[in-house]
Symmetry: C2
Subunit: 396 residues, 2 copies
């Protein structure tokens, strides 16, 4: 009675795998500050629940496989504000960005084919390629370069006969890096030269600091039939639990193909779609306040971390993550040790060991990903705990 080889080879989420240690810490009466997960603490805009409360259909019916018309319309207007023109035929509503990624990878890649992904990358990208059965080739990026892409020649050296697509996230989870206009242009050139698709995960589009701008490959007309956009309302509107995502492409053959997958799972949740549609009306002031808050948190975290001796960090410019290198041999052991053995002011911290964000063996062993989805006071305390914990740990 064996299970499938594929499920045996899949890994548990490295972001969630320390949860039992955090639970044990909480049982001991400690407060655990969660720097491990991208669950925003910002309030969901009230339109969401207000719309749900007004819903008065007697039967909670299946939605259309492509998505509720009102939500498709709302996304079309949202993109229009960014200068990106879509019609209904360019879009499919999905169960979160997660399903959007699976649809894209399944539709574009055969099992023996390869997708290039800059590492470190969101750990579930590996889960999705495992599920779909295609291979990942890592484009290694480095903290010293702010996790920006290597130059064209290095990128080209990674492309093989089996390469079919490049998958990027900008602003990036886990690095917070925003690719420059030139980097996006380079990716477009690679796609044209080597006949590749570009899957662009833009779920953190609004989380960009220091007056920087996000550049989408959707803005480059020459590759418009090669780009597949991944989106989600989870982070933008602090609505992770709604599970509403989207996959978009101007290449109608891709969307039509993905509709087979959409039909097979029938639809995304109906009520959540109706409520998500109302989020387009969220006033600009909401995003301004959210952005200001996150930028302040980033600054607190960055400045605090910078002062810890021997910790390496560069200031990220987007999303709400920061990759830092610790003066510690094994960051995973250290993360477990903190949860099990260390506390200060009756509080401990949970971080995501970064090894799981790298495909290349040996990379990221000393790194952790920190998210700044907790309030400023807790963030300052977390930095203090980290500093003290490093001192204590290295005394051992």
């Amino acid at each position: 009675m064996n299970l499938s080889n594929r499920i045996n080879e899949m890994k548990f989420s490295p972001i969630r795998k320390l949860s039992p240690y955090a639970q044990a810490a909480r049982k001991k009466g400690l407060k655990v500050l969660g720097l491990n997960i991208g669950q925003p603490d910002i309030e969901t805009p009230p339109q969401f629940m207000e719309t749900i409360k007004k819903y008065d259909e007697k039967v909670l019916k299946y939605s259309e496989s492509r998505g509720e018309a009102v939500l498709l319309e709302s996304f079309i207007r949202y993109y229009k504000d960014y200068g990106i023109e879509f019609t209904e035929e360019n879009l499919i509503i999905t169960n979160g960005g997660s399903e959007a990624l699976q649809f894209a990878l399944f539709s574009l890649l055969n099992p023996d084919e390869e997708v290039l992904i800059p590492e470190p990358f969101y750990t579930n990208y590996s889960s999705f390629t495992d599920i779909v059965g295609c291979k990942v080739r890592a484009i290694t990026t480095y903290g010293d370069d702010g996790f920006h892409l290597p130059k064209m020649e290095t990128m080209e050296s990674l492309i093989t006969e089996k390469t079919r697509a490049i998958l990027i996230s900008s602003p990036s989870n886990p690095t917070g890096t925003i690719y420059t206009k030139e980097e996006i242009r380079m990716l477009a050139d690679l796609c044209l030269k080597y006949d590749l698709y570009l899957i662009s995960d833009e779920v953190y589009r609004e989380f960009v600091y220091d007056g920087l701008e996000v550049h989408s490959p959707m803005d480059i007309p020459e590759i418009e039939d090669r780009v597949v956009l991944i989106d989600s309302i989870s982070k933008r509107y602090s609505a992770c639990g709604a599970r509403i995502g989207l996959v978009a492409s101007r290449n109608k053959a891709i969307i039509q193909a993905m509709m087979k997958l959409a039909q097979s799972r029938l639809c995304a949740p109906t009520l959540e779609q109706v409520a998500a549609a109302a989020l387009y009306e969220t006033p600009k002031s909401y995003f301004e306040a959210v952005k200001k808050e996150y930028q302040e948190r980033r600054d607190i975290l960055f400045e605090g971390i910078s002062k810890i001796p021997q910790v390496k960090v560069k200031k990220p410019t987007g999303a709400f993550y920061m990759m830092i290198e610790l003066p510690i041999d094994n960051a995973e052991d250290f993360c477990m040790w903190i949860l099990e053995k260390f506390s200060y002011k009756n509080t401990t911290i949970m971080m995501a060991p970064a090894e799981g964000f790298y495909l290349t063996k040996g990379l990221g062993v000393k790194e952790v990903r920190l998210s700044y989805c907790i309030n400023q006071e807790d963030l300052s305390l977390a930095v203090e705990i980290l500093k003290l914990a490093i001192e204590e740990y290295n005394k051992k």
Copy 2:
């Protein structure tokens, strides 16, 4: 710029593929009676929306990957009422029964391995095996036998070295057949003799008529580590749009393996889970009224259909589907023709051609699946339209 071979080979849903013809008919001002889809018209129990309206968390957070504790608890109590004992560790909440099936198939079968499925079967079973990449071998069943299983020897003749699992639905979509205690026992014996898993799709558990009983493989202790149960609230509580399903097993290794898939897509929708949990409180009288209504509809449909000359039908005993054989060469052409060319009392009907429910080429060409999810008056009119349409079509 090719798409993947797998997506190219996948088919569009045969249940939804006539939708454009129905839309065209509606545009002409006709009323279209939908006998094609299992979307119940029964009201969702009011507890669902009442619970949602009381939800007052400020942030719509991710749920646990396994599911909201309150919903797991509610399912545990629901099964207990059926004499099936589960703990939280036996369950994972999924995005509908669809995701539950994908989790099970992916975890149990390698790409070159086979799952036995009685045909005709729910068309999306093929989609899920296509996505997972495993093979289906059909156990052909026949209308003349009420779509019951063949005898043990026939079943055994279909088992190869590559067979890893049997997938059944009882009460069955699309046939409405409920397997007898002896049939379930035979499946258990096969699983023990040939070291197979049994995936049991029981989403129609409450839809059983004529005082019959549903037998679950979960009731057979010798195979308890071989059974994976698929469930959903969609049909039971007329809540298809909630997308809340469940996969259950007493084999903890299977559940632990599937948790990797659950973590990769983060969670099922939070609000819908909280609301679904409240549905356990649905009074018995709700189900009694629903059952009475569906049994009456089945009788109206069955009696009406039986009177149409040359149409072959046996009375089904569960779910809300009926497979009928028409005196027509090609049922799909006929279904399109009705939508395009035929109406009576300004009304036409949409049916699901049954060829797509069969894996074996040539089977089901003259058959259609009818669902009885519309009210009794419309159902009587639908039968009349079908009778007249057959006469008219065969005059051509």
